[in-house]
């Protein structure tokens, strides 16, 4: 008791360090100002615009929720949203590939592992527009992809037109996005895996666990957070896919116009800025829903596995 009473007056006497506060405020004010000016003000404006019938230069009046109703009543937009499914499927493949390469490069002592990492990561560094042009030539009839496939025995006549045939063109576009982002995901995974205590592998090896068991029991739980992050980023990225369809798919022609491209066309070709803002709000809402749904889903799944783990541990303790 006597000790406590001695300590408490000390705490109470502790003054606010004004110098420190001033420094914090000064340093924070610039980024905060920029953040508010370039993110929050435009965002609030966008919400406002979405209730008006307006172009860039003219405001034709308040229309309430009309813009929102139009988003859902046109089958064209629903179709554009469904295109995201292609990109989501791509995202799953991309994460699986990234995780596979990351585990292999981390677990095995591969000679020249750094080089492989660099090669895999390189596409992420290339500008998206440049990638677009690369792939445009890649997919052109008789160019890179066709030549390679012919060299390994395919007949040109049996190959599809990668961008013209509507049954394959969206997959072609999804591939470019997988190609670009796979390396980035992989590097994030490698980073996460590197932070796992290596003695765990040793212990597991001694206990006779094979690589798959090590992956399942050590790596997967160890990189849970980064995995979630990558997944959320990939899924939201799929919902707002733009670059591949815009550059490789000729501005969303031939049935490749994603919802994001529809927004772009609405604002810049049809000049319906209000409508475009409403579409952007709907897209944001969708992304929020997906993110929250994913979090809830994984919290449920992860908690479950953690519980069983804890139960097992308790059991083991009790036995001990």
């Amino acid at each position: 008791m006597s000790v406590m009473s001695k300590v408490q007056p000390d705490l109470r006497r502790k003054r606010i360090n004004w110098q420190k506060v001033a420094v914090i405020v000064l340093f924070a004010i610039v980024p905060l100002f920029l953040l508010i000016l370039f993110t929050y003000v435009p965002f609030v404006k966008m919400i406002q615009f979405s209730f008006y019938n307006m172009s860039y230069t003219k405001n034709k009046g308040f229309v309430g929720f009309d813009n929102y109703l139009k988003v859902f009543s046109k089958s064209e937009y629903v179709g554009a949203m469904l295109l995201s499914l292609y990109y989501m499927a791509g995202a799953v493949v991309q994460l699986a590939l990234a995780l596979f390469f990351a585990s292999v490069l981390s677990l095995e002592n591969i000679r020249g592992g750094g080089v492989y990492k660099a090669i895999m990561f390189f596409p992420f560094l290339v500008n998206g527009i440049a990638i677009g042009y690369i792939f445009k030539y890649f997919y052109t009839r008789g160019f890179v992809l066709d030549s390679v496939l012919q060299a390994i025995g395919f007949k040109l006549d049996s190959l599809p037109y990668w961008l013209r045939d509507q049954s394959v063109n969206n997959w072609s576009l999804v591939f470019t996005s997988v190609w670009k982002y796979c390396g980035q995901n992989m590097v994030l995974f490698i980073g996460a895996i590197a932070s796992i205590d290596p003695t765990l592998y040793e212990a597991a090896t001694i206990d006779g666990a094979n690589r798959w068991q090590q992956f399942k029991a050590i790596i997967l739980p160890g990189i849970k957070t980064v995995f979630m992050l990558n997944l959320i980023l990939s899924i939201t990225g799929s919902l707002s896919a733009f670059e591949p369809a815009y550059v490789v798919g000729s501005m969303g022609a031939n049935g490749t116009a994603t919802f994001f491209i529809k927004i772009h066309q609405m604002a810049h070709v049809s000049q319906k800025v209000g409508q475009a803002c409403a579409m952007a709000m709907v897209l944001m809402g969708l992304i929020l829903i997906f993110t929250v749904a994913q979090r809830l889903f994984f919290r449920y799944v992860m908690k479950d596995s953690e519980n069983t783990f804890n139960a097992k541990a308790n059991k083991a303790k009790a036995l001990w």
Binding site: T57, R141, Q166, S250, M251, A253, G255, H268, S270
Partner: protein, 444 residues
Amino acid sequence: MKKLLALVLALCLALGMASFAAADELPTLDQIVWGENTDLTAKIHFVYHRTDIPEKLQGYVDEFNKTYPNVEIEYELITDYAENALLRIGNNDWTIMGIPTVDKDELSKYYISLGKLDTLNGLYNFMSNWAYEGEAYGIPSTGNANGILYNKRIFAEAGVTELPKTPAEFLDALRAVKEKTDAIPLYTNYAAGWTMGAWDAYIGVAATGKAEYQNQILPHAKDPFAKQEDELTGPYAVYKILYDAAAEGLIEEDYTTTDWEGCKPMLNNGQIATMVLGSWAFTQMRDAEGGEHPEDVGYMAFPITVDGKQYAPAGPDYCFGINVQASDDEKLASLYYLKYVTEQSGFAYSEGGVPIDKNGEYPDLYAAFDGIDMVADADALEGEATLLSELNSESELAINAGGNTKVQEIVEHGFNHDKDFDDIMADWNEAWSDAQATLNVEVK
């Protein structure tokens, strides 16, 4: 106190003088005389879309500076011009720009008046393109008369001796090209997008023979895209050519990977037989790098005949406007420069364009236009200056205003045989009618 009063008075006077000076009106384009005011000092920032000819433009600046040495002119050439210009229109970081798609009643917000439309119409062509309430705000760089680019040698090899005058004759010519030569009969340039939107340019004058069609009839038309009785005229006939060509495989095989720069020497060398583009493209095809047969590049009228006569829609390219926020000296210097470009530089002629100066000369590319009427679109009716652009926006068809996607879809549906042409046109009619209803437009 007295001192303060005096100061305030002096200030008021000074301000009054200043506002008086500002109210002193600028001369108009027809009033200024070349060779006067040669000591004019100003800096002009010129925003323009012709990224392909920086040396040529610099040559004009050098030539202009011989008479007006203190006027500094700097060109900023932008690839993605239409969007960029629209975003920068309200800024003060440019002096002259090519006017992008704006509503006509807003012209005076961004550009100075170059003079009275009636006066300028007597001196230059196409001045009414950017005019509002009797004032002209933009002067064109060059004029275009729209037709079709074709390769003379390929047509001869295919046995097409007379230029086609109707859609049926044109399709026959394309079929002959496919049969008898290795050339691509009709190159759509699908992937570039805007090259597809270029088809819109033919639905007015070329398809109907009426100068009023685009700005006066179309906004009030009931079902403008419906089949006409004769099936040979009107917007329907224009787009039907494209649909049929795509459906019969008379276009390039892999249209999704077309390359705009690459197509120029291909037309020149006879790998492509025809392309539907404005006359501005003629010089680019003729002078294309890697093109070995400039003499084979020809230009013909659009193959639609109305009552025995063919028409070519003529119109201005980008028109130049002067920033309303520029200083008086900058505005005056800009007027002199625009006068020089229009009357002395020979720009329109060298671009193969219809001259802007009424005394200008027509280049020989229009040799095949003998007996074909060149008609400019008539202005919108009084009070309807913005009606077409509002309908374009509301219907999302964006006719002659960047609506490339809808024309690309014609190619897709034609090629894949998954939608009848009449159904496409019915959709467009519906969009147009809905827009007319929303905007309370009287339908005649």
